[in-house]
């Protein structure tokens, strides 16, 4: 029980980079009664200090990149990052934009990728299951692979 505590209670902080809000709406859908993410102990928190996991949505540009780095550096460890949506996974349609600063994993370590424009709630739940598997694997090896 002590070992599985982190896996069973993932508190989520939502970092919206320059998102078009579609991914944000789908994240809220995941928390609504139909999908009920609280069954798995997932809770949305307002402060990065309370969180175990950060959801990055939207394209990261030169304006919000310093904020992303600052917020990531304020997080208490152990800490995990999920990139949600094609923009933060691989820039999507903003690939050739003058302002885009690259996908999320160029700047902070990303643990799970959930592509889609926007990803469905089912895909996000499967992403969270992958994160749980990853937490298990980290515990066995003792080190975290990025």
């Amino acid at each position: 029980m002590i070992k599985n505590a982190l896996k069973k209670s993932i508190w989520v902080y939502h970092f919206g980079a320059a998102s078009c809000n579609n991914c944000d709406i789908e994240i809220l859908d995941t928390l609504t009664p139909k999908f009920d993410a609280e069954r798995f102990g997932i809770k949305l928190v307002g402060s990065i200090r309370h969180a175990d996991c950060m959801l990055v949505t939207g394209v990261i540009n030169s304006k919000n990149l310093p904020r992303l780095r600052e917020i990531y550096s304020q997080a208490p460890k152990p800490f995990y990052v999920i990139a949600i949506g094609t923009c933060s996974v691989a820039l999507g349609i903003f690939k050739h934009s003058y302002n885009a600063a690259g996908p999320a994993d160029r700047h902070i370590p990303v643990d799970v990728y959930v592509p889609g424009c926007p990803p469905k709630p089912e895909v996000m739940i499967s992403g969270i299951v992958k994160l749980m598997e990853k937490i298990d694997a980290t515990k066995k090896k003792g080190v975290r692979e990025i």
């Binding site: 029980m1 002590i2 505590a5 982190l6 609280e38 069954r39």
Partner: protein, 301 residues
Amino acid sequence: MIIFEYFFYPGILFALVVSLAVSWIDRKVSALVQWRVGPPVMQPVYDLIKLMKKETLIPSGASPVVFLLAPAFSFAALGLVSLILFNSNLYASGFIGDILVVVYLLVVPVFSLIMAGASSANPLASLGASREMKTALSYELPFILALGVVIIKTGGALDIGEIISVQRLSGPVIYSLSGIIAFAVVILCFQAKMMQVPFDISEAEQEIMGGAIIEYSGPPLGFFVVSRWMLMALLPLLAVILFMGGIGSFTGVIKYIAVLVIAILIKNTNPRLRINQTLRLFWGPVTLAAAAGVLLALLGL
């Protein structure tokens, strides 16, 4: 003996177990209200263990001693409240004036939240601390007036054991008109004391992101979360003791859970009030109702 009672039964450890159960009831009832399944029974335990294993961060510019002592004060004071309440409830005895001690000890968590907010070097935290201060100012007066009703109805009893035994002999306080008014006032005040919707403007998650506890992480945050759960477990017990003669048998447990569920339902069916609306509500209608309750109690109703 007293050390065993403070740390194990019926002090900190027992209160911790009860508060974990109460917290699960809270989340499950909220889930049922919203037509969800809700978290598993062990969810509060998982949350607590996880928080205890996480890293503690102290913001630069914060005062480390005050920052780390605030949650400990809150937790220790609530352990003492639990000791006094459960002991008086079990043996129907106490010491003279322990109801006043409980009233003072229940203010300690509020003060530790204010200390936490003031020492975190964060503008949102100090905003939360100032709102917490105003909320506490607003609900203390009607709470103490409603307590006056109970003390008048039980013939000037200033000790919890006597309040319980008088009610067991001559009927609960809530069976009178002034008792009903005072009970309604106390339920509202406890809602604000538990920092629950509609009076949770001091921590308004969507607006100031947790208020006074915004900078806390790891074990100190865990202590604050547990203090919140302990308040949620102890305040319905205090209401049952004051108005229904305590938990004596199985029906007492049902009364306790009923008061708890009333609080959860108020939380789930109301929007959050602004700080000026909170002040106006408590200093206007609620204080007037409590004063009317005191007058009725003096007239013997």
